[in-house]
């Protein structure tokens, strides 16, 4: 028999292993543990996770949202709190995409009464909403402050550039961190490219200063992660032998920005391919397309 939560030794806070978890997960885990909670991160994405999520959201949303819905399904009955920060905008009024903003509302209508959704609203400042959420959970400012002090080193951003060895064939994998960070989505893609002898560079290998730039078209892109994506594309475009954009079907921002990237790649004569993924994507299709792309990258190298 399960005990009511006030009888348990510790309340459990659940974090879905999806979307923003792939960037802030370590910080969240450290912070919530510091607050004195048992942190439960949902297990890695499987086919089952995805199937659970499919019924909970509209059929037209993108793959990452279906996945996060699956993770919420997994957690909702076994945790007391669900930790789902709502990113609305970051510095300079750079917005998150509508779907990311809407997730806590979807979670609220899907979870049972025993599970409370904690959704600190991030508008510009990142730290303060987290402190406020800590207060909501513990009502103890000293504990919140100590937890923050202990967890904040997990927020360190990368400052050094990756190296570009001249004798290796290099390919930039342009995609969101929550696609590449999820092994269910990205493992086949990464494996195929590695097996083809290519060195992979992603957006996460770049320092924040490069990703935040606003030169050229980046200035008119006002989605925070799309701007990062576009800056990564610009940075890599003259340093690698090929660019592969991994886009999930139904991703709205990507549908516009990838089009801009495609036009620029064509004018710069860099091999560019766009891989559209959704819940029906099979391994065979990915491998075939990426092998063809790898061949193209090799040819490009010899020609150059």
């Amino acid at each position: 028999m399960e005990l009511p939560h006030y009888n348990r030794a510790m309340s459990v806070v659940g974090i879905p292993r999806a979307l923003l978890y792939h960037r802030y997960g370590r910080f969240w885990q450290a912070y919530l543990a510091g607050l004195g909670f048992e942190v439960k991160v949902s297990s890695r994405t499987t086919k089952r996770t995805l199937e659970d999520g499919l019924g909970k959201v509209s059929s037209e949303v993108c793959l990452p949202i279906k996945i996060v819905a699956g993770h919420i399904e997994e957690l909702k009955d076994s945790v007391d709190y669900l930790f789902l920060p709502r990113l609305v905008w970051m510095r300079d009024q750079l917005y998150a995409c509508p779907k990311m903003i809407g997730i806590p509302d979807l979670a609220r209508i899907n979870v049972p009464k025993s599970c409370k959704v904690i959704a600190p609203m991030i508008k510009g400042d990142f730290v303060l909403p987290h402190l406020r959420a800590g207060m909501e959970l513990t009502h103890n400012p000293i504990r919140v402050w100590n937890a923050w002090l202990k967890a904040r080193h997990e927020l360190k951003v990368r400052t050094e550039l990756p190296d570009f060895p001249p004798d290796v064939r290099k390919v930039a994998l342009v995609s969101h961190f929550y696609n590449l960070g999820d092994q269910y989505v990205a493992q086949d893609i990464l494996d195929t490219l590695t097996e083809a002898g290519l060195r992979i560079y992603s957006k996460e290998d770049l320092p924040a200063t490069v990703l935040a730039g606003d030169e050229g078209l980046a200035g008119s892109i006002r989605w925070v992660y799309e701007r990062e994506l576009y800056n990564a594309f610009r940075f890599y475009s003259d340093k690698v032998d090929g660019i592969c954009a991994v886009v999930s079907f139904g991703c709205g921002p990507d549908s516009l920005v990838t089009e801009l990237m495609r036009q620029e790649a064509r004018s710069m004569k860099v091999p560019f391919t766009q891989l559209v993924i959704d819940e029906h994507t099979g391994k065979a299709g990915i491998v075939t397309r990426l092998e063809a792309f790898a061949e193209l990258v090799r040819k490009h190298k010899t020609a150059g």
Binding site: S58, I109, E259
Partner: protein, 354 residues
Amino acid sequence: MKVSFPYFGTGTVAFKAFFEDFGAEVVLPPPPTRRTLEIGVRHSPEQICLPFKITLGNLIESLELGADTLFMAAGTRKCRFGYYHLVQERVLRELNPGCRLFGLSQYSAFDFVFRRLPSVFGTPQLRAARALRMLLARSSLIHDLDNMVRRLRPHDLSAAEALARDGLKLAGATQGGGDVARVRRELRSRMPSELRPPKARIGIVGEVYLMLEPFANAEIEKELGRLNAHVLVERSLYRHIRRLLNSDPAYLRTARYAARYIGESPGGEVINTVGEAIHFARQGVDGILHIFPFTCMPENMALEIVQKIGDDYQVPVMSLSFDEHTSKTGLVTRLEAFVDMVARRKTARRSKVA
């Protein structure tokens, strides 16, 4: 300088007169057709949503007719809609390097009317104020006209269509506040005093372009009217402009309702969609239709919430997404089934009460 802009349902007439009040020569593209859509699709990114394709097709058609100064709604924030003009401008410049496309930012409407437009047309700001006043007056007239037409359709479809046609012609030709009031009285007098009760009352919520442009929604209102349903729509160009100018009292109610389900707007018109759905449910409509473009980001997040509202308030809800492959026949079949279902449900409930 020949000014043009994409069609926006019945509000097109008010916009045309608005630009003419600035002293501009307006070249309207033909109303959107299959051809418009085909042109738009040819020049659009593969996965973009439907309004992009139709408006782009419309803009290209107006270039063909000799327009060189184009206007398009914009406002880069959360929804893709705000970015349309950036991509469209690239396409249009390739086709006609001499053309200009102005993005009308929805988040700074005052700035646009009183600074950008007077500088484009070289008119004094006083004239802008007059143009804005007339835009509101005319769009408010069209708002009333649309509601009359919606009420008349289940009673007499052909009379309703005639009223819509004549009403728009009269509304476009109005020259001042008194003129608008006269036309409004004249149109009201054409409504029969006794109206047959409709088979069902159906509220429509969703994405604003899809709701207001009949070509985009495959004339869903007319089809529902043909099925003897009274269509209720809260959204209109008038309300939209009033909201952008922060002066729509009805929006306060909408936002208050929506706050029960939504902590923060995911962009687009989700606040309106959710708030109006609750409003309709409280008004006791027989069914709610939620319409949006295929893969629309904000409305797909609203979809689950609208369904939940349907559960909470015991109202049937049907969600329909539209893209260039939507067939009218398929749509009509689904509408027929929906209207029959809600009508039967209504009579069953009534007999249960009695």
